[in-house]
């Protein structure tokens, strides 16, 4: 992690080539250094943060006055830092019989904030100040400051589950990790009103940008694991599967057991696990199959690569099977040589600099916050199964010489629906995660998806895909916008890369043209907005028979509905 000085230097660079993000920062203490750290960390993540920093202590005014600079600025992200210190002052000013309402009062304001501001709100929760007025007895006293702060943090979690534009940045967790005496510098605070120490600022900025990047679709999707001395202690080829250090009996096995438990939780959360190990494959698999102390089993691993080739090449293989970006992969390896090799060859892959001592792995990894996410649905946990199936499908494809025969053999079926309560979280999530097959890269929150479903202006389509190997679940979305009586505009078209080359785009186009035809539309207009990642769909519309429109500011393409001949595809519509 860069220190504050380095973050500040970033601002001297030429930022004009970076995509810009409009952000507003509101705080009840001096926020200038936080603003500098946020902008500097933005550069680290590839963004030019175009920041509006409200004047000192204007949170309420900016939010409650609908004509304030906050609303004029039109930020995509509103970062709000209301401090525990100011809350404590409020607590001190309340008559004792009203102190028990402190948390509720603040919550009412945050609720109002969520309803007034349409942007994503990133709200710091409250690091505790243990004032020891009651000592530990404070736990029994509702009016105590400790009680109210803990209640407030708990209620903020509940509120963020309910308010879809509210994202908590867990400042309390940062304090738990760093310690209060490092997060907060009393001498600096008293002389300046700055609440975060110079050492804490980069950490806070990093955690804040984690939230923004996740909302911008930059989340990590895959964890690639080395085996010997990373996932277990010892070398399986030398020591044998039965003598590895894992579990509570042998050596420092506990460290590896707890690491595996953490990895397993990531997998259950939807992170794809892959193995990349220098080993004979059968030897490498033995511990997973035979050692009862292993937490991870073979079925938890979507792609298992164990051979003697170089790891960068093996990670390229894993990337091809999974069809996700290198920048969404994290590689864990205890060996500095392998780490450096992968960093050099595949600079987009995140390679944490694991400490030498395995007992330090977990606390080190916790501090990295590698897997921030902007959404979660229970369908995520099926992802490993889907990728395992994808690997089987690749093997099956090799057995066919003719692509059409292969596609027919898959017995594919797609269910087409609008947006509903079931698929809304998944649609929002896919809109945030799809980078490559995404024509306009518009990101939607669940709230916005619900609004589209309810609006007569839009016609939404959600597509699933199942085949004889398994169900991929929701894999594609099209949102049409009625432009006028005869024209439909393709506001959104994205698809999961797991189903590329299956004829899905033909099926999707057939579906929307049929809709257009039935409802009297004559023309469908599509637009391609290029990003660093969606080059694969630059020719999407011309390849589907759309004609490039002339004299337009962006790449627009039109399709004549009457003249359209349905495309051949081997996907059946599920009734």
């Amino acid at each position: 992690m860069k220190d504050f000085k380095q973050l500040k230097r970033n601002l001297k660079k030429d930022l004009s080539s970076l995509p810009s993000l409009k952000v507003a920062l509101l705080g009840d203490s001096a926020t200038q250094l936080l603003a500098t750290a946020l902008r500097g960390e933005g550069v680290e993540r590839g963004f030019h943060i175009d920041l509006y920093e409200a004047e000192y202590n204007q949170v309420e005014r900016q939010v409650l006055d609908r004509t304030s600079e906050l609303y004029q600025w039109g930020a995509k992200y509103v970062v709000v830092f209301q401090s525990t210190h100011k809350l404590m002052e409020r607590h001190a000013l309340l008559p004792p019989d009203e102190q028990r309402r402190l948390a509720d009062e603040r919550l009412a304001f945050v609720r109002q904030l969520c309803q007034s501001v349409e942007a994503h709100i990133i709200y710091y929760n409250y690091p505790e100040i243990e004032d020891t007025v009651f000592g530990s007895y404070a736990n029994k006293v509702e009016a105590s400051f400790t009680y109210q702060v803990r209640k407030l943090n708990y209620e903020l979690m509940r509120l963020s589950a309910e308010q879809k534009n509210l994202f908590i940045c867990d400042l309390a967790a940062i304090q738990h990790k760093m310690g209060r005496d490092r997060l907060f510098d009393p001498a600096v605070y008293v002389s300046t009103e700055l609440l975060l120490s110079i050492d804490a600022l980069p950490v806070v900025a990093s955690r804040t940008l984690d939230v923004m990047c996740a909302l911008e679709g930059q989340a990590k999707k895959c964890l690639i694991l080395d085996l010997d001395n990373t996932l277990w202690g010892g070398v399986v080829g030398d020591d044998g599967w039965e003598n590895l250090q894992v579990g509570h009996g042998l050596g420092i096995g506990k460290a590896f057991t707890e690491l595996q438990q953490w990895v397993k939780k990531l997998k259950e959360r939807g992170i794809i696990l892959a193995v990349c190990s220098k080993n004979d494959e059968d030897k490498a698999k033995e511990p997973f199959e035979k050692n009862p102390e292993m937490v991870l089993r073979l079925e938890d691993i979507a792609v298992f690569v164990a051979n003697w080739k170089n790891k960068a090449d093996n990670i390229r293989t894993i990337q091809q099977v999974l069809n996700i970006g290198f920048d969404s992969m994290v590689f864990l390896d205890d060996n500095p040589f392998e780490r450096n090799m992968v960093r050099t060859e595949l600079p987009d892959v995140t390679v944490p600099e694991l400490p030498d001592d395995p007992s330090l792995y977990l606390e080190f990894l916790y501090a990295q916050n590698l897997f921030e996410t902007a959404s979660y649905s229970t369908a995520d946990s099926d992802r490993t199964q889907q990728y395992r199936v994808a690997a089987q499908r690749m093997v099956a494809a090799q057995a066919f010489t003719n692509e059409a025969d292969f596609l027919k053999s898959l017995q594919m079926e797609s269910e087409v629906t609008g947006f509903n309560a079931f698929n809304t979280p998944r649609v929002a999530q896919l809109s945030q995660r799809s980078n490559q097959f995404n024509l306009r890269t518009v990101r939607y929150t669940e709230q916005q998806i619900e609004a589209i479903a309810a609006s007569p202006e839009y016609v939404p389509f959600a597509f699933t895909l199942a085949d004889k190997f398994g169900d991929n679940g929701l894999i594609g979305v099209i949102i049409l916008q009625r432009q006028d009586a005869t024209t439909l505009f393709v506001d959104t078209w994205f698809m999961s890369c797991r189903v590329l080359k299956r004829g899905m785009e033909h099926f999707m186009l057939n579906t929307i043209v049929a809709y257009a035809h039935q409802h009297g539309f004559r023309r469908i207009v599509g637009e391609y907005l290029p990003t660093a990642k969606n080059g694969m769909v630059a020719d999407h519309y011309p390849q589907l028979g759309f004609v490039s429109m002339e004299d337009t500011a962006t790449a627009l393409f039109a399709l004549d509905v009457e003249a359209y001949q349905p495309k051949e595809c081997y996907i059946k519509k599920k009734r």
Binding site: K5, P186, V188, S191, S197, I198
Partner: protein, 81 residues
């Protein structure tokens, strides 16, 4: 470490934090003389000096200095102890 050594070290820290390799500090230098030295970089400077000399300033000291010489006075006392 004598006063001059401390002044030299503090000058290095100022150059690094304020990103100005030509900056020259004397005992009489004040924030008015150095463009980049404002109330916010002041905090960065203090933290860097504290780290470098392994000392801690008090909140009174942070607000009290009128020039670099007075800051050096505070450091001299702490470094001796």
């Amino acid at each position: 470490m004598n006063r001059q050594d401390i002044l030299d070290k503090v000058q290095d820290i100022f150059r690094d934090i304020l990103d100005n390799d030509d900056l020259v500090l004397t005992n009489e230098s004040t924030a008015d003389d150095i463009e980049e030295w404002d109330s916010l970089t002041h905090i960065q400077l203090i933290k860097a000096i504290e780290k470098d000399f392994s000392i801690r300033f008090t909140s009174r000291e942070i607000l009290s200095w009128n020039n670099v010489g007075e800051m050096i006075d505070s450091i001299v006392v702490k470094v001796k102890v």
